[in-house]
C-alpha cells in the first residue's frame, strides 16, 4: 500500500492474514480435493458423464437395433474383442450380444444416460418439493407444521422400494412414472432437512437483523436462509441420487420401470436373469456399470459431507 505524504490519515494496518480468507465453497472444494474417497467418486462420475454425453460416438452399434440378419452372430454370444484374440471370421462385440442379438456394449453405454437422468431428475424433483414443504412447515409452525411433518413421517417410515412399487402400480409401469415414484418417495428426507435447517437459521442474529430493517420474508427466505440451508441438501442429494438410481434399477428389474427395449441396466439384468447360468456376461456388465455409478455418488456424497461439515472446519 502506498500512502501519500500529504494525507493525515494513519497508515492502514497490514492484514494479519497474508492469504485471502477462503469462502465457504472455496474451503469446501479445497477440502474435497484432499479426500481420497471424494476424488475416486469424482473420477468415476466424470468418466460416467463423459460416457453418457458421448455415448453415440463411443457406441459401436445401435443400442436397440437387433443385429440379427445384419451380421452372422448367435444370440447371447460371448464377448469377442479383436485385441484379446477374437478370430477374424467372427463379428466383434465388446461385451457380447443379448437375448435379442443386440450389442450389449452399446446398451451399457446408453444405460449411463438413463441412470444419470433418472437419478438427477428424481432427486431434483424431490429436493424442490421437499425444500418447499420443509420451509413452509418451519416458517408457518403450529398446526400446519404438525400436519405436514406428520405426513412426511408416514412417508418416511415406509421402505422406499415398497412405496415406489405402490405408486408405480397406480401410475402404470414406465420410465417417467418410475422417476415420479422415486421422486415422491424421497420428498420427506429433504423436507425434514430443510425444516430443521430453517428452524435453526431462523433464530440467527443476521436473520433477526434482516427482519428488523424491514426485509420482506421472501427476501429473507431466498437471500439469507436458503443459501445456508443448502449444504445439507447438497450432501443428502448426492447420496440420494445413489439410492434413487438403485431403486429405479430395482423397479426396472421387476419389470415395473423402464420397458424393453430401453437400454436400462436394471431392466437388462432383469430380462436376462434366467440366463445367468449360460451367459453370465449379460448380468455382469450392466451390474458392474450400476455398481460403479452408485459407488461414485456414494463416495462423492461422503466426501461432500466431510468437506461441508461446518463443525469440523479448523
Amino acid at each position: 500500500m502506498t500512502t501519500s505524504a500529504v494525507t493525515t490519515l494513519p497508515t492502514p494496518v497490514e492484514p494479519i492474514f497474508n492469504t485471502k480468507p477462503r469462502g465457504l465453497w472455496s474451503t469446501a472444494f479445497h477440502r474435497l480435493f484432499h479426500r481420497r474417497s471424494a476424488i475416486i467418486g469424482m473420477i468415476i462420475l466424470g468418466c460416467l458423464l463423459f460416457i453418457a454425453v458421448f455415448a453415440p460416438f463411443l457406441a459401436t452399434h445401435d443400442p436397440v437395433q437387433s443385429q440379427i440378419g445384419i451380421v452372422d452372430v448367435q444370440k447371447r454370444a460371448a464377448p469377442c474383442i479383436r485385441l484379446f484374440g477374437c478370430p477374424a471370421d467372427q463379428p466383434e462385440f465388446f461385451f457380447g450380444t443379448d437375448g435379442n442379438v443386440r450389442d450389449l456394449y452399446s446398451r451399457v453405454l446408453y444405460g449411463a444416460r438413463l441412470s444419470l437422468m433418472v437419478g438427477i431428475l428424481s432427486v431434483g424433483f424431490a429436493i424442490v418439493i421437499g425444500a418447499f414443504i420443509g420451509a413452509v412447515s418451519a416458517y408457518a409452525g403450529g398446526y400446519i407444521d404438525n400436519l405436514l411433518m406428520g405426513l412426511m413421517d408416514i412417508l418416511l417410515a415406509f421402505p422406499s422400494l415398497i412405496l415406489a412399487i405402490a405408486i408405480v402400480t397406480v401410475l402404470g409401469p414406465g420410465l417417467i412414472n418410475t422417476l415420479l415414484a422415486i421422486g415422491i418417495v424421497s420428498i420427506p428426507v429433504y423436507a425434514r432437512i430443510m425444516r430443521s435447517s430453517v428452524l435453526s437459521i431462523k433464530q440467527q442474529d443476521y436473520v433477526l437483523a434482516g427482519q428488523s430493517i424491514g426485509s420482506s420474508s421472501r427476501r429473507i427466505l431466498l437471500q439469507n436462509i436458503l443459501p445456508n440451508a443448502l449444504t445439507p441438501l447438497v450432501v443428502q442429494g448426492t447420496l440420494g441420487i445413489a439410492v434413487a438410481i438403485l431403486d429405479a434399477a430395482a423397479l426396472s428389474f421387476l419389470g415395473l420401470g423402464a420397458q424393453p427395449p430401453t437400454p436400462e441396466w436394471g431392466s437388462m439384468i432383469g430380462q436376462e436373469r434366467n440366463q445367468v447360468f449360460t451367459a453370465p456376461h449379460l448380468i455382469i456388465f450392466p451390474g458392474i456399470a450400476l455398481i460403479l455409478t452408485v459407488l461414485g455418488f456414494n463416495l462423492l456424497g461422503d466426501g461432500l459431507r466431510d468437506a461441508l461439515d461446518v463443525r469440523q472446519r479448523s
Binding site: 474417497s37 406428520g150 413421517d153 408416514i154 417410515a157 415406509f158 421402505p159 422400494l161 415398497i162 412399487i165 405402490a166 405408486i167 402400480t169 397406480v170 402404470g172 445413489a242 438403485l246 434399477a249 430395482a250 428389474f253 421387476l254 436394471g266 439384468i269 432383469g270 436373469r273 445367468v276 447360468f277 453370465p280 448380468i283 455382469i284 451390474g287 450400476l290 455398481i291 452408485v294 459407488l295 456414494n298 463416495l299 461422503d302
Partner: protein, 337 residues
C-alpha cells in the same frame, strides 16, 4: 409415561384411518381391472355381472366403509373364532376380505401362509446384520481413521452400493453354479422333521441371508460408528478414563451403552421392513414370501390382497414408530415425557 403412550396411541388412530383412505383411493384410481385378464370371448353382460359380484358397482365411499368394516370387525372376529374355536354369530356367511385371483381364499390366510418363509429369510438376516454390524461400528469408531476403520468404512460403502438383484445373481453364479456349494433356489415346501432336513434348510438359507445381511449391515454399521464417535468425544468418557477404569469398561459400559440408544431406535424402525419382505431377494431366490405375494398381486390386479397387505404394513409401521419412541424414553434417562 403411561399417559404419553396413551396419547400416542390415540393420535395413531386418525393417522391409520388417513393412511387406509389413501391406500384405498390410490388403488381405486389404479387403471387395472379385475376382468382384464379374462378371455376376450366373454360377453359384456357377463363382465358386468362379474364386476357386480365383486362389489365394484357400488360407489367409492360405500366400498371404503365396507372394506374398513371387513378389516376392523369381520377379520378380527374370524381370527378370534379360529383361535378360541367358539362360534360368534353367522360365521358361515361372513364376508371376509377375499382374494380375487385365488378363488375365495381369505387374504389373511394367504398372508399367514407366506409369513414363515419371510420370517426365516428376512428376519434371520436382519437379526444377523444387527449382531454383526453393531460391534463392527463400535470398533471402527474406537480405532477412528485406523486401518480397521478404513477397511470397515470401504466395505460399508460398497455394501450400500451393491444392488441386491446383482449380488444375488452373482452369488448364485459363483456358489450355486460354479462351486455348487449351495442350492440356487429356495425350496419353500421343505418340511423340517429331521436333522437332515434342518441342515438342508440352513444350506438353502445361506445365500439369500448372506445377500440381505451384507446390504442391511452397511446402514447399521455406519450409524453405530457415527453414534459411537460422537460419544467417544464426550466429557464423561474422559472422566471415566481419569477415574482409572480400564478401557474395556469405558468402551463397553459407557460408550456402547450410550451409542446404542439411537441404534435401537433405528433397528426398531426397520422391523416393519421385515414384514414387507425383501421383494428383490425373494424374487431372485424364488422365496415364496410376502414380498413375492405383493408383486404377484400387483401383476394380476388382485386389489384386495394389495390393499390389505399394504395396510397391515402401515399398521406395523405406525406401531413400531410408537415402540421406537417409547424405547427412546426408556433407554435415555434425559428424555422425560
Amino acid at each position: 409415561m403411561g399417559q404419553y403412550v396413551f396419547r400416542r396411541v390415540l393420535t395413531a388412530i386418525p393417522t391409520l384411518l388417513f393412511i387406509s383412505l389413501i391406500i384405498f383411493l390410490l388403488l381405486d384410481l389404479a387403471p387395472g381391472d379385475p376382468s382384464a385378464n379374462l378371455p376376450l370371448s366373454i360377453p359384456q353382460e357377463v363382465r358386468v355381472r362379474i364386476r357386480e359380484s365383486l362389489g365394484l358397482d357400488e360407489p367409492v365411499h360405500i366400498r371404503y366403509l365396507k372394506w374398513m368394516n371387513q378389516f376392523f370387525i369381520v377379520e378380527p372376529t374370524a381370527a378370534l373364532e379360529k383361535l378360541t374355536g367358539l362360534q360368534i354369530g353367522d360365521s358361515e356367511n361372513r364376508l371376509r376380505i377375499v382374494s380375487w385371483t385365488s378363488r375365495g381364499v381369505p387374504v389373511i390366510d394367504l398372508i399367514l401362509q407366506r409369513l414363515p418363509q419371510t420370517l426365516w429369510v428376512v428376519g434371520l438376516s436382519y437379526l444377523l446384520s444387527v449382531v454383526i454390524a453393531v460391534p463392527l461400528g463400535v470398533l471402527g469408531a474406537y480405532h477412528h481413521n485406523g486401518l480397521f476403520d478404513q477397511i470397515n468404512s470401504v466395505i460399508s460403502v460398497i455394501g450400500f452400493s451393491l444392488p441386491t438383484f446383482f449380488t444375488g445373481l452373482l452369488v448364485i453364479l459363483v456358489f450355486g453354479v460354479w462351486l455348487g456349494w449351495f442350492p440356487t433356489i429356495y425350496n419353500t415346501t421343505l418340511v423340517i422333521n429331521s436333522w437332515e432336513t434342518f441342515a438342508q434348510q440352513i444350506r438353502q438359507l445361506v445365500l439369500p441371508v448372506f445377500v440381505l445381511t451384507f446390504f442391511q449391515m452397511a446402514a447399521i454399521n455406519r450409524f453405530t460408528r457415527s453414534a459411537a464417535l460422537e460419544n467417544l468425544k464426550q466429557d464423561y468418557v474422559r472422566t471415566a478414563r481419569a477415574k482409572g477404569l480400564n478401557e474395556q469398561v469405558v468402551v463397553v459400559r459407557h460408550v456402547v451403552r450410550n451409542s446404542l440408544i439411537p441404534v435401537v431406535t433405528l433397528v426398531a424402525l426397520g422391523i416393519p421392513g421385515i414384514f414387507g419382505g425383501a421383494i428383490i431377494t425373494e424374487q431372485i431366490f424364488r422365496v415364496n414370501g410376502l414380498g413375492a405375494l405383493l408383486i404377484l398381486a400387483i401383476q394380476s390386479n388382485d386389489v384386495p390382497v394389495v390393499q390389505t397387505t399394504l395396510f397391515i404394513f402401515a399398521v406395523l409401521v405406525v406401531l413400531f414408530n410408537l415402540i421406537a419412541d417409547v424405547l427412546y424414553g426408556v433407554l435415555d434417562p434425559r428424555i422425560r415425557f
